[in-house]
Symmetry: C2
Subunit: 357 residues, 2 copies
């Protein structure tokens, strides 16, 4: 019997927040920042490989990361890696995967997932995903997985539920709130974190794109015949140049009226900041997260220190700091500065004249 | 006319205080910590080469640094580099050079100098050295160069003058004082810093060694005939194993009654600590001494930051810190911790099991 379930892994991000460990040449999804023995993308693949056959995976990435993807997931065939010529946010990425899948299997059910998140309870996660797959199978429903919040986080978008059921209609999506608002959200019990994981049938998402992003739909449908042929790369190049940058949340999910959310509770983090790496990392007795036992600390507390494996480090007198040392960049900054890392990179690009830091 | 003036450069030190930049494999004298374009030993050679013929230089070093010496001063012939099998402090080092010179030129006048000091006013320095050479030429005098102190430094030994003449007899040598004592020394105007630079005739220092360090004298005189022959290395090996570790200050200068000091004032520092490197380095407008313009600092003051030439660094929120990054070691510590560096190294040796850090 044909398996109609597919997993689309979005892996095109450049991820500057983990600079200098993540770089344009090797972004976060290919790193093992938490020192688990596997990269984020490999974890993502392994997690879904429990329920999705290998041939039903698709990875969408920037063309420059194609070989990295195949290196981290050698099980994939080359044609399972779709290459974006330029990043246009998630809507074009998902459209590319959806139109590709539609040709191959019009009955496809798609899971769409970021490639760089942390999930602690995989068993519960799989249960939620399978229950969502069952839910959308016979309904025209766009499912998003929401996460039961545990703190007034200001770094995530939120989804307001319409009732207390495990799966329910979405009332509305909200942007990242300020601290005060985040506390209200948490107390109300009506809001979930937006995980960026989606589940739907390929026909349903294409209908939604046609309705809410007609320009994108017409661009992709105009080249449908080229997908899977030798013309694909050229046509995709043209479509991506022409199409607007827009997220699937803003372009489709916030506008559609058939959007559901599955209330998940399986230990999730987008590991989006050094602070969250610190939070999830192993700590010594002074609450330091150290990347190796070649790091000697004195009078140092609550700090994240990461150096190359063979390197020796001696660190004295730091409290609440981030120290990340790589072969060609050293970063030392207070944990509270981590939002400034983007501007640090801009300064470095400017002063070094190198755009590919 | 034969030139009887010789320069003996002592270059055997291992220098752990500049760890991790100085290492057993490349100690301070071979580094250009102040980023001047030349190593300390090269500066030392160039300084004296203005008044001493190249063939009248002798460098005494540990045998493992012989090739480094010849690399930094390619003008030298191999036989001008005397190799110590093990470090025994300055008295055996100077005895080795003195007995070697005596064979070659019994009328030799010797300048003995460390290889890793900073001298800012070279012209005045040379004037002082030449005037000392003239002073000792027709006197049995052991001359040491003292430095007019400019602050109550606790890191140096002091020399008490017997009067206010530029050259005068030494009243006494003192060990490194505590802060209170150093302030008294400074106010009295009677004390000079001990620079470790000496000037004397070879016959006079050998007489002094015979008198005050008879054991050492008898060891070295017993192998005089082997110096300059194929037996030299083997005999020196035996002598160094047998002879006591002792400094020339403690062993000879403090005991002899023909010791003079030349009051020098030419901008001198032994650059013995990261603090003194900081002091002598170029600063940015926030008083940071940065090793390259690839270091971007934010909210950082009074700090010394040194990274490999091609490396980018971003440093935020440090005040009065030392950051030294090398290929295989990273050190971050408060400037006030610099006396702890020796113990940091011991810990690293212990935890890494590597004795040659």
């Amino acid at each position: 019997m044909k398996n109609h379930r597919y997993c689309v892994i979005m892996a095109g991000g450049i991820g500057t927040r983990f600079w200098p460990m993540s770089r344009q040449s090797c972004p976060k999804q290919f790193l093992d920042i938490l020192d688990t023995g596997r990269s984020f993308i490999r974890h993502t693949f392994d997690r879904f490989a429990k329920i999705i056959p290998i041939e039903n995976f698709i990875v969408v990435t920037n063309k420059r990361y194609k070989s990295l993807v195949l290196e981290h997931i050698p099980e994939l065939k080359e044609e399972q890696v779709l290459c974006e010529p330029i990043g246009r946010n998630t809507a074009p990425c998902i459209a590319y995967a959806a139109y590709t899948l539609k040709r191959r299997d019009p009955k496809a059910e798609m899971i769409v997932t970021p490639s760089d998140h942390l999930i602690l309870n995989e068993e519960e996660f799989i249960r939620v995903v399978e229950s969502s797959l069952e839910f959308v199978e016979y309904r025209n429903a766009l499912m998003t997985i929401g996460i039961q919040p545990t703190r007034p986080e200001t770094g995530y978008g939120y989804i307001q539920k319409s009732n207390a059921e495990e799966i329910c209609k979405v009332k509305c999506f909200t942007e990242k709130p300020n601290r005060e608002m985040a506390e209200v959200f948490l107390e109300s019990g009506e809001f979930l974190w937006n995980s960026g994981i989606f589940i739907w049938k390929v026909g349903d998402i294409i209908s939604a794109i046609e309705k809410h992003l007609p320009e994108h739909a017409s661009l992709f449908s105009s080249i449908e015949g080229d997908l899977g042929t030798e013309n694909e790369a050229k046509s995709i190049e043209r479509v991506f140049s022409a199409c607007r940058t827009i997220s699937i949340d803003y372009g489709v999910m916030e506008r559609a009226d058939n959007v559901y959310v599955h209330n998940g509770n399986f230990g999730w983090s987008d590991v989006g900041t050094w602070g969250s790496v610190y939070q999830h990392g192993k700590k010594d007795r002074y609450a330091n997260a150290l990347s190796s036992d070649r790091i000697n600390v004195y009078d140092t507390r609550n700090s994240l220190i990461t150096v190359p494996k063979e390197k020796i480090a001696v660190v004295s007198g730091l409290k609440d700091y981030i120290v990340v040392d790589t072969a060609d960049v050293l970063l030392i900054c207070p944990m509270s500065d981590e939002q400034s890392i983007k501007s640090f990179i801009e300064d470095v690009k400017f002063s070094s004249g190198d755009k590919h830091i």
